[in-house]
């Protein structure tokens, strides 16, 4: 058994709540914490908008709570390490962001998130608040195409929150915001590769075991099994393996315009990511697929896990409009259109 990972923390059981304090401070006054709760909301929320509530387990920073800000999430409900937030946290965060036009719940498709957000949604609907739910299901490794409802949400979250956030800042009705988010989720596909595991600070134990010379293609963000465990391979071969599954799944075809996300799971170097990006662009060009916007960075992490994922979203003029709007948060800030 590996030694517990080195981490600079205080009491691991206080890590989530102390992280949220630090996150709020890093937002320079643009967010606040709900008193006594692991939830944050914007301080600069416009008075009359459709609300977007995001959330999920902690330990994946900067997602999800780091994506609370202008044209992104209006608030986030935070769980403990890799565990969905409890219903009362979601309920209070939802009440704090509601501005009378209803709330879109946007989160990754995991059993725990689904149940806890559904319980909160039932409580809010009992009070007459309109709640819609869109679950991110971009991980093609998790289930075959006919069972997208069984797919996990991974780094597609980055594009989903950016698009839904901009739509919720722009459109007048919850119906319209929900429609845009559903269109976006129907067009996003991802797959990742794991190189080494992350660990939960409180247990100190890695969430899975991989031999020093092994990688796992398609592994989920919490160590959920992928589609193939294999020997370490060159960047081009790994990039090809991911695209081989992602491209036919939608399918992405010649003439399509896409957004591309390369997400670092935590401990992979930017150099590796950029080498992979080079190969991905070669393949996409060969297939006649145009990249409208590239995001290479660190958003959905799993502590010190090494590995990365590739996300493609097929765009139309409406999705491009929202994707290109400026946004500001601790986790992601972008200027005007590319």
């Amino acid at each position: 058994m590996a030694k517990p990972a080195k981490k600079i923390l205080n009491d691991p059981r206080q890590a989530v709540t102390q992280m949220i304090d630090g996150l709020v401070l890093a937002s320079d006054g643009r967010t606040r914490r709900l008193p006594g709760l692991d939830a944050i909301v914007r301080t600069d929320l416009p008075a009359d908008k459709v609300a977007l509530l995001i959330g999920g387990g902690s330990g994946h920073e900067p997602l999800f709570h780091g994506f609370v800000g202008q044209n992104l999430g209006d608030g986030a409900a935070c769980g403990q390490f890799f565990a969905a937030p409890a219903p009362h946290i979601i309920y209070e965060a939802a009440k704090a962001v509601h501005r009378g036009k209803g709330i879109l719940f946007l989160y990754g498709n995991y059993a725990g998130d689904n149940m806890n957000f559904d319980i909160a949604a039932e409580m809010l609907q009992d009070e007459g608040i309109d709640i819609r739910t869109v679950r991110v299901t971009d991980d093609v490794a998790a289930a075959p195409p006919e069972r997208t409802h069984d797919r996990r949400g991974i780094a597609g979250d980055v594009l989903m929150i950016k698009i839904a956030g901009a739509a919720a800042a722009t459109l007048e009705s919850l119906d319209e915001v929900e429609r845009v988010a559903r269109k976006a989720v129907a067009n996003v596909r991802s797959m990742g590769v794991a190189v080494s595991a992350g660990s939960i600070p409180e247990t100190g134990k890695p969430t899975f075991e991989l031999a020093d010379d092994e990688i796992e293609v398609g592994m989920g963000a919490h160590g959920e099994a992928g589609i193939a465990r294999q020997k370490l391979a060159p960047a081009d071969a790994v990039a090809d393996a991911l695209l081989e599954r992602i491209l036919p799944d939608l399918p992405f075809a010649a003439g399509d315009e896409v957004a591309l996300v390369l997400n670092n799971l935590g401990a992979t170097t930017m150099m590796e990511m950029l080498v992979v990006n080079r190969r991905i662009r070669q393949v996409l060009q060969d297939r006649g697929i145009t990249v409208h916007r590239t995001e290479v960075g660190t958003w959905l992490t799993v502590q010190e896990m090494a590995g990365f994922s590739v996300t493609l979203m097929k765009l139309d003029p409406e999705l491009k409009l929202y994707l290109d709007m400026p946004c500001h948060s601790v986790g992601l800030s972008r200027m005007e259109a590319v």
Binding site: A84, A86, A111, G112, E224, A225
Partner: protein, 218 residues
């Protein structure tokens, strides 16, 4: 041996014993979850049941209120799928005990039936999917004919253990273990183990109480 049902004070004491038993097994649950999940089940259950110890009113609340308080504390503090389903186990079970002034064998059967129905509905799961519902369903069936409270909980706890064993030969089709497919074979479901710990602690509490009564009365 006394076959009187549990009153409110004893119900609270039993729920406290359940909480202590779950907290004591944190490492067992962590290791079971590391095998087929992400390893947070133990610490999540510990968070939830530590909150149960804080939340339970040792005064003498209504019995259903004690069970509901237990469920709400779990749901608010455990988080994840475990918080939702183990919270529901106790809140749905509490509804089945509404108005009861004691818990006897029939009360335990109502509790298990209510819990099973509530968990199945909340989780959208059926038996055979390698979840805690398998332990709960085995327990409910095993308890169906027991004549008294102690026998009922003995049967329920043994049923839950059988349910845990049964999950070893199941392929997970829901939750984070789903992606493991065949690789989940041979491992018990961590949530099922938690159900067995809970019912085992209820059995132990009632048999210890019966022995105490026997000592006093004899």
């Amino acid at each position: 041996m006394s076959d009187a049902g549990l009153g409110a004070m004893d119900s609270v004491a039993m729920l406290q014993a359940v909480a202590r038993a779950v907290i004591a097994q944190v490492d067992v649950l962590t290791d079971a979850d590391l095998a087929i999940g992400d390893g947070d089940h133990g610490i999540g259950m510990r968070r939830g049941f530590e909150a149960v110890l804080t939340a339970l009113d040792t005064g003498a609340p209504a019995i259903d209120a004690a069970f509901r308080t237990t469920g709400m504390a779990i749901m608010a503090n455990t988080g994840g799928a475990a918080g939702a389903v183990f919270g529901t186990l106790f809140t749905a079970g509490a509804k089945a005990l509404a108005g009861a002034d004691s818990v006897d064998a029939d009360g335990i059967r109502r509790f298990l039936a209510g819990a099973q129905e509530g968990v199945a509905k909340r989780g959208g799961v059926t038996e055979g999917q390698k979840t805690m519902l398998d332990a709960l369903a085995h327990a409910a069936r095993a308890a169906s004919t027991a004549p008294d409270l102690a026998a009922c909980l003995t049967a329920a706890a043994a049923g839950a253990e059988a349910g845990v064993a049964a999950t070893k030969s199941m392929v997970a089709t829901t939750g984070k273990a789903r992606s493991l497919g065949e690789r989940s074979l041979g491992h018990p479901d961590p949530g099922a183990i938690s159900v067995a710990i809970i019912l085992g602690a209820m059995r132990d509490f009632v048999s210890a109480r019966a022995n105490d009564d026997g000592g006093r009365n004899g």
